[in-house]
Amino acid sequence: MNPFSSGTRLRDMIRAIRACKTAAEERGVVRKECAAIRAAINENDNDYRHRNLAKLMFIHMLGYPTHFGQMECLKLIASAGFPEKRIGYLGLMLLLDERQEVLMLVTNSLKQDLNHSNQYIVGLALCAMGNICSAEMARDLAPEVERLLQFRDPNIRKKAALCSIRIIKKVPELAENFINPAAALLREKHHGVLITGVQLCTELCKASEEALEYFRMKCTEGLVKTLKDLVNSPYAPEYDIAGITDPFLHIRLLKLLRVLGQGDEDASECMNDILAQVATKTESNKNAGNAILYECVATIMSIEDNGGLRVLAINILGRFLSNRDNNIRYVALNMLMRAITVDAQAVQRHRATILECVKDLDASIRKRALELVYVLVNESNVKPLTKELIDYLEVSDQDFKGDLTAKICSLVKKFSPEKIWYIDQMLKVLSEAGNFVKDEVWHAVIVVITNSPDLHGYAVRALYRALQTSADQETLVRVAVWCIGEYGDMLVNNIGMLDVEDPITVTESDAVDIIEIALKHHTSDLTTKAMALIALLKLSSRFPSCSERIKEIVVQYKGSLVLELQQRSIELNSIIAKHQNIRSTLVERMPTLDLLEWEEKQSGSIPNTTGSTPAHASINIPNGVAKPSSAPLVDLLDLNSDDVPAPSSSGGDSFHGLLDIDLSGAPKQSGVNHSPNNGTDALMDLLSTATPTQSRSAISDLLNSGQDNKTPVSPLEVLSSPSSNSIQPTSSAGAIDLLDSFATNSPIQENNGPAYPSVVAFESSNLRIGFNFSKLPGNPQTTIIKATFTNLSPSVYTDFIFQAAVPKFLQLHLEPASGNTLPASGNESITQTLRVTNSQHGKKSLVMRIRIAYKMNNKDVLEEGQINNFPQGL
């Protein structure tokens, strides 16, 4: 009996697996096979090892775990015969990769095989090394590979060349050793060696400046000659593809010439002729020829300027662009993207064709073309191009709309010549693809509208019309609802008519209708509904005749399961019902927001985001409404700390304030912040969307991050010392009344509890940190620590960040710091409030590890320490 036919053969196993009808059945077969293979491995079975490994590879390809076979690969590689080694190396490459520790064990076998007398075994070792070697192996075996670059058989030389590429990628500092042997490969005649040699040189140029200089000096001419010979070579059947001798070699040579010519005029000059020849002589009716042309164009575009060649290249791209083959059009678009930096004018000439490509059936082409159009747009052509893109938006695929919308919005924003055009275009986008519009974009639309007083009426009427037809586009609904709330009177009375408009007849109750629809529409999400409620409040004041009806609508949400809506409903209802006298002040038109300032905030320059940003985020998320998270806190404070800001003039209040999606939960609960005659303050409170669950953190965030509030104190102190802020305790009664449902909280909390001594928590030569402690009444577990950072050095610290960590039994909450710049020599200090909750209060005392990072004279400094000197009983 032949031992090779016992057990299941590889072929039988594959058959059995293929015969499986269900995945479960397949798993069964694989499990059985794996069990048998494991058993064989345990018995250290020699005869079937290679067959078992082959089976494992197949199983691996099906996606099952096969790590138990890794050692088998090593054993096979270590055995003497070629068949075993062949399958062993294959398994090694399939089952392992460079990150596995096991791989190190193979280094020795590899070394032996690289020196083996059988050249095929050397080849196997080189191949495995080239495909999966790690940096460490590369270092160990580089001398062997270097030597093999001069091996007698060309097939080994070419493998060694590619293996060297891998070595250089893993260990770039080895590059120098390979420069000379690589240069020698360029003189070879054997195509395989030449092609790999050229690739090795290209890689060396990327890895080492020295290599680049060397090849540029010594090899440019030789390479040009090689390419010339190749281009003019007679028919060679072995390398011929579509009438061209070895297009692969063509392309690799062009690629290396590109690297050599880039940034060097002499080298570029040297290759001009041959590039012109390739560009003009290459047949372009087959893919192989086009591939060469494509590479040639890339090289022409990259090397130093030669006007004539560039014209040639752009013409080739123009020809590509009108080709019927999608592949060719794709690469043309791809290359035009690079050409635009070289010759924008020439690319502009193809604008019409490129625009057609945006509408192509093929997603890859569309994407490329859209990106190209995006860079082609300028002030002079923005109007027609945007029109084309928006027209196409109507018919484009759903998957493409997101990309397209983002690009259009960005273009309109960047190049809009006038506001009315901007508003028009954005309205079109919102109506066509409102669901794909990002938050910051529709926010920007509102900001622009508020900033164009003469267009308020126009915008609100246009939005009203758009809403009739595209009520399913969420962001359109939001913008429209907001504008109708603000400018409802202009909608009804056709105020501020422009010549281009047709008058529309909208009654007050029509306007309320449309908001009601938005509020009740099943697709409207929380933000939209919340905005609709606010809009209704505003309309109740603008349209006294509808006031009763609005009240009824608002009341319906009193029982809403969504806390946010319920709260708004209750608040708004009490305003409508009980506070006629202040209502009109409350809902006054929103002040315009400075566009530039808003954009700056959007771009993320928020002053107080020191180590405590996570705290902001965690507060905002449950709210679900205030998505742009960090800005609002700061914004709010502008409102808050101006003593009596007139609503119309306080330029600093934020867009989030405008949208009333702030999270100023604090004032309501503290109840000290209300003053009926202070329009802005009250407005902010009333329109805030904070949920009652967020309590203390919000307060201190709010108070601490104030710009006017240089030395914020712990919330308690703030609450109990009204003079330090714009808090007017006299009005607290009114506020409680206003929001009667929340009046149970005592507005002013006593600053009681035992007093703890302040400590110097940390002191180094540069920095002192002092801690003040206080407790929340009725909550002995929680300690409020006011940390004061003082700079002891003569230099200013910037980017100051304080971080702290506590053991598991403690919970730490960091409030934002009062600033991130610490003036020199203790002139001023930064303060930051920490809340620590000790779950083992009374048993264990506080302990904290801290880290402080800052920049002194633009150098990063990091200090660390542990604080153990907390007073007892915290």
């Binding site: 032949n2 090779f4 068949p83 294959l90 990150r99 395989g192 692969f248 893919n287 999608n326």
Partner: protein, 161 residues
């Protein structure tokens, strides 16, 4: 550089995978799922390139098999199509009009051929003949070893009868 080579059947079954950059088993599965979803869904007239993550995937369908190669952004897509075709022609010559079943039952042979064509994600040989010759030489080495082994085992079998 070619990041990886995939052969996927029209039903989404994997027939060959070769990774020249390290991907964990989990990532590999994810990549395979993602790409087969994208590529198999594309119509016949569309271009052969798909932009995927920061790479491009060049694919070409031969009968029931999709040959896919993932390349860097600035690689020559048209050339990669030629490399795929080059590979297919060599397979075709080796198996004699290759079909999917050949590649299933002789998957290791397909890997051997690929290893003669690409190393480290770069092209190794532009001559089909040379590849065929090298594979044939190595196959004959294996055959000789097998014959020797079987003749020895026959002798042992006869001796122990």
């Amino acid at each position: 550089m070619i990041q990886f080579v995939l052969l996927i059947s029209r039903q989404g079954k994997v027939r060959l995978t070769k990774w020249y950059s390290p991907y964990t088993q989990k990532e590999r599965t994810k990549v395979l799922r993602e790409l087969s979803g994208v590529i198999l869904a594309r119509g016949p007239k569309l271009c052969n390139f798909v932009e995927w993550r920061e790479y491009k995937v060049v694919y070409k369908r031969y009968a029931s098999l999709y040959f896919c190669m993932c390349i860097d952004q600035d690689d020559n897509e048209l050339e990669v199509l030629e490399i795929i075709h080059h590979f297919v022609e060599i397979l075709d010559r080796y198996f004699g009009s290759v079909c999917e079943l050949d590649l299933i039952f002789n998957f290791h042979k397909a890997y051997y051929i690929l290893d003669e064509l690409l190393i480290a994600g770069e092209l190794q040989e532009s001559s089909k003949k040379t590849v065929a010759r090298l594979i044939a030489a190595q196959d004959s080495l294996v055959e000789t070893a097998k014959e020797q082994a079987s003749s020895i085992s026959n002798m042992i079998a006869q001796a122990t009868k």
